[in-house]
């Protein structure tokens, strides 16, 4: 970490972030609308929401790696106090992989199939500075050890297809932390893995936070995952943040009916039986209802909810929810 780095209390401070995707027939889809959230230094923040609510788009906006069709149209993304949205492509490349690492959903397609594990770690180590080859090799082994891969020197000459999904995700994590980043973004890092492996990978992320002090933003649609390792939670619905707060406060006192519905749908024991889901579908992001976006599926919705955007209510100094009923002690 550079010595000049200011120690802001928040590694990531996003305000008013809006992303637009130009769809067919001049339709505009906004997978992120006026998003405001923060990632505290050394904390693990879970971003939770159903599929399609804009979690990945949010993460990719922070990385400045949105697909060509998507554009950030407003807001600021302060990383260590500096706005990433105004950085030049070159400056951004110097941040990616160095100060911000990222882990993707499916480790089996995250690595180039034609290069060895060693080559791909080495490439990361070549990107942001000069190191003699012997030091890079030693560092690669050290990284593989840090993510709990047995016999690391043997892995260096192996190809991605020779490793299991869990091992690959550890390799991906090793690459992500190669330069001791301040922030690690993990986009559903366990979804593609076997249930038994999922917990191991989550524990690895927690371990990395404890040992490296890296702040983690972990995207998931599973409250169980969030409960397992998160300090803070941010619940997203239809491109908006509907609730943020420390995990305990949200569990004890969920402020938004959507948060409650998500919690109920994931606290049911895993295994047999049908997966509980929230009734109805998330709205079309190109055609949102005028009031609260969740109103059409909300058991508490009344006239007001359908017509007027709900206020952001403080449930404690660090816990807020965007709902007409937040804080009124739902029944």
């Amino acid at each position: 970490m550079s010595s000049q780095e200011k120690l802001e209390p928040f590694v990531l401070d996003v305000a008013g972030l809006t992303v637009e995707i130009a769809g067919r027939e001049g339709r505009v889809v906004r997978p992120a609308r006026d998003l405001t959230f923060r990632v505290g230094r050394g904390r693990v923040v879970g971003v939770i929401g159903e599929s399609g609510c804009g979690k990945s788009m949010t993460a990719l906006s922070v990385m400045r790696l949105l697909p060509a069709s998507a554009k950030v149209t407003g807001g600021t993304v302060l990383f260590n106090g500096e706005d990433l949205l105004t950085k030049s492509p070159r400056a951004m490349r110097a941040i990616r992989g160095k100060s911000i690492g990222m882990v993707l959903q499916d480790p089996s397609v995250s690595l180039d199939p034609l290069f060895t594990i060693g080559d791909q770690i080495d490439e990361a180590l070549c990107m942001h500075g000069r190191m003699p080859a012997a030091r890079r090799r030693a560092r690669a082994i050290e990284l593989l050890e840090a993510v709990g891969i047995p016999a690391p020197q043997d892995r260096l000459t192996q190809y991605p297809h020779e490793l299991s999904g869990g091992m690959l995700q550890r390799v991906v994590a090793a690459i992500a932390i190669a330069w001791n980043p301040a922030l690690l973004i993990a986009d559903e890092p366990t979804t593609a893995l076997d249930p038994t492996i999922q917990v191991q990978v989550l524990d690895l992320l927690g371990h990395l936070r404890d040992t490296l002090g890296v702040s983690i933003m972990i995207i998931t649609h599973d409250f169980g995952v969030a409960a397992h390792i998160c300090d803070d939670i941010m619940v997203m619905y239809a491109g908006e943040v509907v609730e943020t707060g420390p995990v305990r406060q949200i569990f004890d006192n969920p402020g938004h009916p959507y948060t409650r519905a998500l919690m109920e749908s994931s606290t049911v024991p895993k295994g047999k039986g049908r997966l509980p889901t929230i009734e109805g579908q998330p709205p079309d992001l190109g055609d949102l209802p005028p009031g609260c976006a969740f109103a059409p599926r909300c058991p508490l919705a009344n006239e007001q909810c359908h017509h007027a955007a709900p206020p952001r209510i403080q449930l404690s100094d660090i816990h807020q929810a965007t709902c007409w009923y937040a804080g009124e002690g739902m029944t």
Binding site: R93, A94, R96, G97, S110, T116
Partner: protein
């Protein structure tokens, strides 16, 4: 690995023998060569003598065995048309074809991959659109038609290039172009789509996440991954190109193997046909083997499978 290659080579020998047997029987069932070769008024004795001299009076299996025995000493019989060893006739015509095909193939490969890269890099732009349009045009025009149009334009009207024959550098241009255009278009389109596919892949996204530059992603990762389908296609195209030489050489009166094969088929010059087929079949099989080995070099997933 060596085991695999040996197994493939063994299989190759069997395939070549099968092809030979097929062509051997087929040529002998397509008419009596003695009647074709001798003057109309040849006597029965003359015909019988001709058959006896070329071993055509034996049963076909016996002829085949004799042919195989000769093969062991590189004696493939005598050309019925040239009265010289068939192998010699073939070897004399071979260099012209190898030159032409190699030139066309290397050009198609280099230009095809480069244009495919350009098209992928500037996808959606004018360069991409014109490259793609010309690829479709080229692929929909038959080989012989391109050849005839080229002769009309460059040889007859403009008088820039010779109409036919193999005499000087200028005489290579039209035959090589004719042979090259189709594989070039195919390789170009494959390169473009393969590059685009890799560029959209998750591992390229992860490379960007690592901070790798777009140039390095393209040259080191995307190109190498895109090469796998391009290699497969190129092997196929080189095979097709060899077939294309038959027509192209005939149109341009090119003194190569392709035109020799056509001449030999027409005059039922069995020995020459047999050596030619043996040579072409062996080449195609070795080509396939080479493509497979190249896969192993490029793709570790195959190497260990």
């Amino acid at each position: 690995m060596t085991n695999y290659i040996l197994k493939r080579l063994g299989l190759a020998v069997i395939t070549v023998l099968g092809v030979l047997l097929l062509i051997f029987v087929a040529t002998r069932m397509s008419g009596d060569v003695a009647l074709l070769m001798l003057p109309q008024d040849a006597s029965d004795e003359q015909i019988a003598a001709y058959r006896a001299r070329h071993g055509l009076d034996r049963a076909i299996p016996v002829q085949f065995l004799n042919f195989m025995r000769g093969m062991l000493t590189l004696d493939f019989g005598e050309s019925l048309r040239y009265q010289r060893p068939a192998l010699e006739v073939i070897l004399q015509r071979l260099p012209a074809t190898v030159e032409l095909a190699l030139m066309a193939f290397v050009l198609a490969l280099v230009v095809g991959v480069s244009l495919g890269l350009v098209a992928a890099y500037y996808r959606g732009g004018w360069a991409d659109r014109s490259i793609r349009t010309s690829a479709v045009l080229l692929q929909s025009m038959p080989n012989f038609w391109i050849a005839i149009m080229a002769i009309l334009l460059f040889a007859v009207m403009l008088r820039w290039l010779p109409t036919s024959g193999r005499d000087g550098a200028a005489s290579y241009i039209m035959p090589a172009m004719t042979l090259m255009l189709f594989p070039l278009a195919a390789i170009m389109r494959m390169t473009r789509s393969a590059i685009l596919e890799t560029i959209e892949s998750e591992y390229v996204k992860f490379l960007r996440i690592k901070g790798v530059s777009e140039g390095r992603i393209l040259w080191r990762h995307a190109l190498r991954n895109a090469l796998i389908p391009v290699i497969a296609l190129s092997g196929l195209q080189l095979g097709n190109l060899m077939g294309g030489t038959v027509i192209t050489e005939t149109i341009f009166n090119w003194p190569g193997l392709g035109s020799l094969m056509i001449e030999s088929f027409i005059s039922r010059d069995y020995p020459v046909i047999q050596v030619g087929v043996l040579l072409i079949a062996t080449f195609l099989i070795l080509l396939n083997l080479a493509v497979d080995l190249l896969f192993c070099v490029v793709d570790p997933r195959i190497r260990y499978a």
